[in-house]
Amino acid sequence: MNMFIEQLLNGVAVGAIYALITLGLALVYGVLRILHVAHAAIYTAGAYVGLFVYRATGSIPLATLAAMAVCGVLGILIERAVYSPLLKYPPYVPLISSIAMFLGFQELFRLLAGPYIIAFNARLPLSDAFIGHVRISAPILIIYVTSTLVLIALWLLLYRTEIGLAIRATSQDRAIASTMGMDARSLISLTFFIGSAVAAIAGILVGMHYNQVYPTMGTVPAYKSLALIVVGGLGSLPGAVFASLLLGVLETLLIGYANVPLPRDSLAFIAMIAVLLWRPQGLFGRKGGR
């Protein structure tokens, strides 16, 4: 039983990290209807900025803030410089440019930081927690605390403020939101900023947790988060979070109890295919599409 609970805790931690990466993608899809593959490059940039600021200052809060700011601005730049001029073309045009940017960024990271894996050795003042006989290790605890805080903050922002209401309105129907006096342009930029800043947090968490930052660390998240927003229902934020947590747990239990050397990453795609076949609007999507 203890083993089952420990596996469950491991799985939720993996899922929470997926959720932080996937949320930004779902947000962007909501306002622009673009599959933002380069989001995974922003996540990698977050890990690098966090690592270098941490090395320079020795402060994780400072490193996190710096990474959030840099990535947020990077997100806005990508939107303004690349997506905005391409929106008039069919959706595959921004998608292809997004893939190109993702690959370009990977090479840029390699040129700037070198091809090596760099260790992100940060000690945080947290110790293992025990619930009965079940032990939650400090690194997992950090993931729980951080992701819970981020999710609460995002929920408050989107569902309890006027700006949040405006973002949600824009994502439902940009034309109508604009005629109602909302500044779609700034709202889109704000959405990119928020999504990218959250991706930066995810990058730092992953970098610290696995103690490695490297140019291609965004590859798996790039395609897995695409599968996850499809499973959750394109553009649905609760759907993205739910699908991420579910996948994290399923992957972990599959390894823990079946031990098929099936790459855990394939599960996301099996889920995506199943969803497309039987519930194309996604787990949390509304029928009839948008």
Partner: protein
């Protein structure tokens, strides 16, 4: 004037054509190494080590009265890239011998080309059995998975005194042959040694907690954890985070200073079976270590040491052959006996070109790989 020009131009062209042939007063050794991409750290280590070997050879007057020249290219650990570059080494650079300083995928792709061209090849650390199967011109200075698997089982059984062991290995060719070798030892010699858990993880894995939680339940004395340093590094950390106290034993894939950087304190007391002993007192080893550390400001590793040996064995064979006749060089590699190498006293190569030499056991102490033991039982190290 124009008549002069008309006679000069062909003359200049003729000289230009003849020049490369006339300039062949060096002996060229070719090498492919990954210098960019995910394998860059290993490729750089191999190249840096061979550069030291090259300087030593040339400082001692070269070979056959000629200077040795190293022609190397970056294959990005990519088979397609490697094939094109190997063709260039063979046709354009006309190398006399070749050090395969890259991973298995590119090395097994180029081996048939060098075999076809009858140019001797020594693989430094590529592990796939197919590399030497390309033919009699192909040799390997690294260990096969079977050998290292048997050596790992011996280490767990005899040197670490384990009664129970869990296997956590990568799902690729090397991981599988390691397991085969490990189990072969357990059936033949491992009385009192029991495998209590056996798990495999896909190459792309980064989070090992699900596997380790299951191993924790089985509570083994020793965990044999195979994988590269970027896999075993996080594995070690996560094992200790989960409160696993078992001794952990890895293999040569973890033999890199990067392992200690990634695993941090969790690396302390981590054992590996590998191809290099840093505490070997022979001058060849200690001089190399000193030179490497002062030049590159990083700890040398197995990959580099094995590439150094591959280069030196080729030079030695050219010297023995007394010419650049590649067939005679090949014969002299095959005849090699008790060679004083960086990776140990190399007994020689067997009939399929696999190296026979003792397997080294190292342990991490204060952040450095140190001597722990050696496996030299002929029954275990014979490929």
């Amino acid at each position: 004037m124009s008549r002069l020009l008309r006679t000069m131009v062909p003359l200049v062209l003729l000289v230009a054509v003849l020049m490369p042939a006339a300039a062949q007063n060096t002996i060229k050794i070719g090498m492919l190494v990954p210098l960019t991409g995910s394998a860059a750290a290993d490729g750089t280590s191999a190249l840096n080590s061979v550069k030291i070997a090259l300087e030593q050879v040339n400082a001692a007057g070269g070979v056959l009265g000629k200077k040795v020249e190293l022609v190397y290219y970056d294959d990005q650990a990519d088979a397609k890239q490697a094939v094109a570059l190997a063709q260039k080494l063979i046709d354009q650079d006309k190398v006399t011998a070749f050090v395969a300083g890259s991973y298995s995928l590119p090395s097994r792709a180029v081996a048939p080309l060098f075999q076809e061209a009858e140019i001797p090849l020594i693989a430094a650390y590529a592990i796939h059995p197919d590399v030497t199967k390309a033919g009699d011109f192909c040799f390997r200075n690294g260990f096969l998975g079977f050998v290292e698997g048997r050596a790992a089982a011996y280490t767990a059984h005899k040197l670490l005194g384990a009664k129970t062991v869990a296997l956590l290995t990568s799902d690729n060719d090397f991981g599988r042959t390691l397991v085969t070798g490990f189990k072969e030892y357990v059936t033949k010699y491992g009385s009192g040694l029991r495998i209590v858990a056996e798990l495999t993880y896909p190459m792309s894995e980064t989070d090992y907690k699900a596997y380790l939680t299951k191993i924790k339940e089985a509570n083994p004395d020793v965990i044999f954890a195979s994988g590269y340093y970027f896999q075993t590094g996080p594995m070690l950390r996560q094992a200790r985070e989960l409160g696993i106290k078992a001794k952990i034993l890895g293999e040569e894939g973890a033999d890199s200073p990067k392992l200690v950087e990634i695993a941090g304190e969790a690396a302390e007391g981590f054992y590996i079976v590998t191809n290099f002993d840093r505490d070997d007192p022979r001058p060849i080893v200690q001089d190399f270590l000193k030179e490497y550390r002062s030049r590159y400001k990083i700890e040398p590793d197995m990959v580099g040491a094995s590439a150094y040996d591959a280069f030196m064995i080729l030079i030695d064979a050219i010297k023995q052959a007394g010419s650049t006749n590649t067939k005679r060089i090949r014969d002299n590699i095959a005849r090699l006996k008790n060679f004083n190498g960086l990776t140990g006293i190399i007994t020689g190569f067997n009939e399929i070109g696999e190296v026979v030499k003792p397997v080294q056991v190292q342990v991490v102490k204060n952040g450095l790989f140190r001597h722990f033991g050696v496996v030299n039982d002929p029954a275990l190290i014979q490929p």
